[in-house]
Point group: C2
Chain length 329, copies 2
């Protein structure tokens, strides 16, 4: 294992501290327990809180800021944050209109966020993201995994929350976006958890894992390496099979890197996917390409489609000011 | 070699096409010869053009847009663009106030940009970037290599050009920023050029290359893997030895990923570097962390310091609207 770290036990705090130092105009870090809030607390809005195991950066702390999250609770690498983190974060950012938790569907996260929700004295609700169409049930999940589509949920609901919308409206929009969003990933290499010190799974020099999870969970099948167009065709087909868009539907196309795949290849995947979608009569009117929901140091990528409507487009296009996504601010 | 590609010969065009499709609000791609311009041509300003071999994305096409470049000329992977690309780009973006070429100091780039400059009928000047303090002369360079500091030059001069400043003023600021900027990188793995199909250099499982170039050129020395703090201490010491900042000087600290290093580790490096600089009495008042000048699929990172003054700060902080860097737009 070659990583830029000091002691394995210090990785999280040192990385979060660097993040907070580099973006002190946007975020503030609390260390006991760990959570990240906006540098300037928002008022008169539903407070949006997300979190989960670390190793998926910029998700979630990188999306704290105007137009997206109010707080993020980072757990240790690939480990759920604890309820005390979520409670402390909720108390810090509650602005009198309730708290909405945005939680990726992994057993540990779901359990701990539920526990926090029960203990919390202010009105709250939860949006569970489950956009990964690859598999039902997986290493750490009952049902479908929440993956890169979570970024779209956070952006769109984050925008609505800034308008002063109430808790029920924010939850409803989050659920709607999740239902209209599908993702599927492919790995070319494993990732390596620092504390484990070795690859999470073995994969041959000419193999890929179709439908891999963002923690290296198994996907649908192991295959021989293929041209990008063939890989994209299978990913897109799986997502469209799930989303069943109407003819001529308008979509957001996201190509997300798992960390070790160069931007040059991500744009090549984007080209392949957009051509394919257009050939099927879909309108690709919004895009996002880059490393937004990563899997430590994995080489690989995922494709996400979101079926747009006027409400989702309006909130996708609105200003946002976070470390990981910035526009109009 | 596992990469998301189709045919090796199509990588550049497919990737550029995906880039242009994903960012059609910002850029427009020309294919014969290859160059990228702003979607909306600017008027009444010096036209800024950069370029170089591909494989360093988002550099340079990702920095075409308001507040930075007017055009970028991408060569094939790690190969200089040709004079006809530069001429065509210059003719497309010239707005009557002359053309400034921003060129990283590699023999092929320098030669071809010089040729284009001689053939160009409009007033022009060149800023040569040479911020890599690691070595004098290298595989493709006489003198010092231009690396991640080029992003700072493009951002700062790009901002000045938007004010309507003349060619001489833009060139002078570019030269000043280059002189006040130093970088040094470290590789944990090689990169793999698609057409070669194998690693550019061999490196052991417990080795790193201090001072590596962004094409995998040799650095200062091969070493055994060390803790991040020790690596950062050597990189920062080398840069400070070169820049010789005054006591209490204000700096921009950039931690740049070479592509395969996760954001989590880049922020850990940032934390280490900022602590060290503060301990030496320097003021770190601006930051940039992420993959901005990459080396195909290399795992590694570089640190860049820029000695700030009021003029540089003003132009660093100004709005910018590109695919790779966006703020205030």
């Amino acid at each position: 294992m070659k990583k830029f770290i000091n002691k394995v036990n210090d990785v999280l705090v040192e990385s979060l501290s660097g993040f907070a130092m580099a973006h002190q105009d946007i975020v503030q870090l609390h260390l006991d327990p760990h959570f990240v809030v906006r540098a300037n607390k928002a008022s008169n809005k539903v407070a949006l809180i997300s979190g989960g195991g670390s190793g998926h950066e910029p998700l979630h702390a990188g999306f704290v800021g105007y137009g997206m999250l109010d707080a993020a609770c980072p757990g240790h690498v690939f480990t759920s944050p604890s309820p005390d983190q979520m409670l402390a974060a909720a108390e810090a950012v509650d602005a009198g209109k309730g708290v909405l938790f945005i939680v990726k569907n992994y057993a540990g996260d779901v359990m701990n966020f539920e526990m926090a929700a029960e203990m919390l004295s202010v009105p709250n609700a939860t949006v569970l993201t489950s956009d990964d169409v690859a598999v039902e049930n997986s290493t750490w999940t009952s049902g479908r995994r929440g993956v890169a589509g979570t970024v779209i949920v956070e952006k769109v609901v984050g925008s609505l929350a800034e308008t002063g919308a109430d808790l029920a409206a924010c939850k409803a929009l989050g659920d709607k976006v999740n239902q209209r969003t599908g993702s599927m990933g492919v790995a070319l290499t494993s990732c390596t958890v620092p504390a484990a010190g070795r690859a999470t799974f073995d994969i041959g020099d000419n193999e890929l894992e179709m439908g891999v999870g963002i923690h290296g969970e198994p996907g649908r099948r192991r295959e021989a390496m293929r041209p990008a167009d063939a890989i994209v065709a299978d990913l897109v087909a799986a997502i469209l099979h799930d989303l069943k868009p109407a003819a001529g539907a308008e979509v957001l196309l996201m190509v997300n890197g798992f960390a070790a795949t160069p931007l040059m290849e991500l744009y090549l995947l984007y080209h392949s996917a957009e051509k394919l979608l257009k050939a099927q009569g879909l309108i690709v009117s919004r895009s996002l390409v880059g490393n937004y929901t990563t899997a430590l140091d994995m080489a690989g990528a995922s494709i996400t489609l979101c079926l747009l409507d006027d409400e989702i487009k309006q909130h996708w296009d609105s200003p946002v000011h976070t470390a990981g996504l910035r526009r109009g601010c």
